[in-house]
Symmetry: C2
Subunit: 458 residues, 2 copies
Amino acid sequence: MKAIIMAGGSGTRLWPLSRSKCPKQFLRLNGMEKSIFQLTMLRCLCFCGIDDIYIVTNKDYRFLISGQIEELGYQAPEENILLEPVGRNTLPAIYYGVKAIQKKGDDVTAVFSSDHLIGEQDKFVSYIKSGEKLAENYLITFGMKPTFPETGYGYIKPGEKLETGCKVAEFKEKPDFETAEKYVDEGYLWNCGIFMFRTDVFEGEVKRLAPEVYEAFKADTVEECFSRVPKISVDYGVMEKSDKVAVIGLDVPWNDLGSFASFYDEYESNKDDKGNVTFGDDILINAENNLIYSEGKKAIAAIGVKDLVVVDQDDALLICHKDETQLVKEAVDELKKRNDQRAFFHRTEYRPWGSFTILEEVGGYKIKRLTVLPGKKLSYQMHYHRSEHWIVVNGTANVTIDGTERLVKSGESIFVEAGQKHRLENPGKLLLEVIEVQSGAYLGEDDIVRFQDDFNRI
Amino acid sequence: MKAIIMAGGSGTRLWPLSRSKCPKQFLRLNGMEKSIFQLTMLRCLCFCGIDDIYIVTNKDYRFLISGQIEELGYQAPEENILLEPVGRNTLPAIYYGVKAIQKKGDDVTAVFSSDHLIGEQDKFVSYIKSGEKLAENYLITFGMKPTFPETGYGYIKPGEKLETGCKVAEFKEKPDFETAEKYVDEGYLWNCGIFMFRTDVFEGEVKRLAPEVYEAFKADTVEECFSRVPKISVDYGVMEKSDKVAVIGLDVPWNDLGSFASFYDEYESNKDDKGNVTFGDDILINAENNLIYSEGKKAIAAIGVKDLVVVDQDDALLICHKDETQLVKEAVDELKKRNDQRAFFHRTEYRPWGSFTILEEVGGYKIKRLTVLPGKKLSYQMHYHRSEHWIVVNGTANVTIDGTERLVKSGESIFVEAGQKHRLENPGKLLLEVIEVQSGAYLGEDDIVRFQDDFNRI
């Protein structure tokens, strides 16, 4: 069996948690040890090997993906990370994965989003495995058993029963509340965007039902394919038109984290008796049904407020009424229009060697905290316009300057002049933490010359 | 003429702008060059000399006051800074000032709060001066001309006309809205807590009307006076009972910054067409009548919210409905109960030599930015448990370590080991900015040995 993971979404509706260069699928929410993408990988690894997983994404996330897979202790084959030159919705994304799989031969393939939280993993995996035989002849869509009459999802009406699952009688658009109540009563399922099919069966249906996609992918290069292919969803382009569609019901906890409203629902267990979800020891006075997501470092008081989403980060703050979370996207669009970096990046960025956090950035200097994982190192590099002081505050660093190595212990520091080649390495078994103070007339990240082909390091 | 400035208030209702160790009167709001206390000093200096100004405060604010006066280019006589051992409301505070003035002889004295914003300084000063003759025989209360039927203030009904001002016919408690409307129509004035009297006339009335205060102040020490004296306001204890009370109307812009509601009113000119007051380029979508006060460094989006007060600081965040700002005090009380330092201190603290800001404080290290004014120096000091790296990022430092001086220029650094005596000085003409990285097992501010009597430095 094969798996396709769609990991190209930019998660705009969860700003400022999600930033376009590191969207929600790569986040470790609320202190989780794994990102949502990593959890999706681990689910797939329950029914196939690392070489059987194909990830469709874009170039911005390439190193995030390889880094996060490496953290899981795996090495993804380079040809399995499929970079869309441009987003064209789900049908081209999935078909790109299908074409890559076909190079090694047709197979039954499951398709997942990388940004859904799914509970009860064993049960979920057995649902997926149960579809393998059905997938020989059907395009399967998995349908989630509704927990309430949600108006934000499409519904699937199950039809004639099959050995496993049912034929799909009908796909229903997002309903109004009354209709949704009827759907739930009548056993309809949420269309949750999880699919399974044989690649050859799927390709046959694409050829028949979405020939413009089929034809576009005959081009020689990926760039050409994507420049020709229209924007089209797999539901609209194939599933809703095909007569070979079956549905298998899923009954596991599921959250697509589609907005802060669903985020609020996810943390039911954090709710106090007034319906407030908080993540620190915030002070709440006359406050009801608020979501207050913070990093727990700040004194937060919420007084006389109701139904608010408050997300506080070091460099960004969102205050939004719970009924208007769909407008968060507009705020991000405005930031992008201003070329405000806080639409794109977090204060902390993750790298294969660890992470760095910008603590302060003002005229003439910049302060970063570098955290280097045991045994990892940064690239050998040089800056023309800035000097750097490195102060080791935890662990021991092996620092190379112009070819000379030196150990720098906790409490010690070392100075790197502009123009000196330098490298930072953690030779130890514990985390290395270094405070870097940069001074110079120009402190842009692009003043860097690297002396190795390790462009995924800073 | 003399002046008494009451500067002991803790400004709880403006948390997190105001912290109990540095309350609103000492803040430079919205990038003002001077603090509200400094503006009050400058107003007094328009009609009397620095030696004629008496400041009643408590020991927490002693060095804030002398530092802020020094910044204005003045030196306050030590005996003019009167430290209340404990707060006992306005009558004991004012009478403490009166007793101090009387040591040099009786005089006409004006009394001000240190935390009111007052516009049109020249006009205001001429109002004050106009009372000098009247004060020979009357206790004067200045009454502010109302701009709207405020229900949060007491009102003064003017009576029989005098050469200057009028006799007070009656003091009125805080009214309901309808009554307030009537008061405004009938020419009543706001009781705004600005007074003027001859010290001997005032003392006579205290003796007659509040004999327990008069008696308490016969004790030998300030501590004893304040342990005996009851909590009592000057209005209740003297003004409302005396038959020698006159009122002079004031017609100048005035704001007591009594809560975030009055704070919102103060920034009328920052309002957008939806009534939002902001201080940065915040993104507002479907947002009305909000006050968003930030330091302008963060990306802030407010969506679908109305009538909120949002105050965002590096270490604290308040989100409060505008009708419930009186509850901010409760939040501060809760923080104090938790002994949370963010009730007491700001991230940035001001010292006579400049200021320091805590940028990061986590296990094993602490990062501060020190800003040293030209010509100023910190105390000569030593720490047992921490080493310090000083990285000069702007200006030039003169650093003394164990008796040896050295100039450290921008981009350079110096290391101070635990146990070494050290001093930082700005010998130059420009601001000196230093990043200090402390490492050690114990980083408390109390690990410090000072080698001079300059305890107002860190």
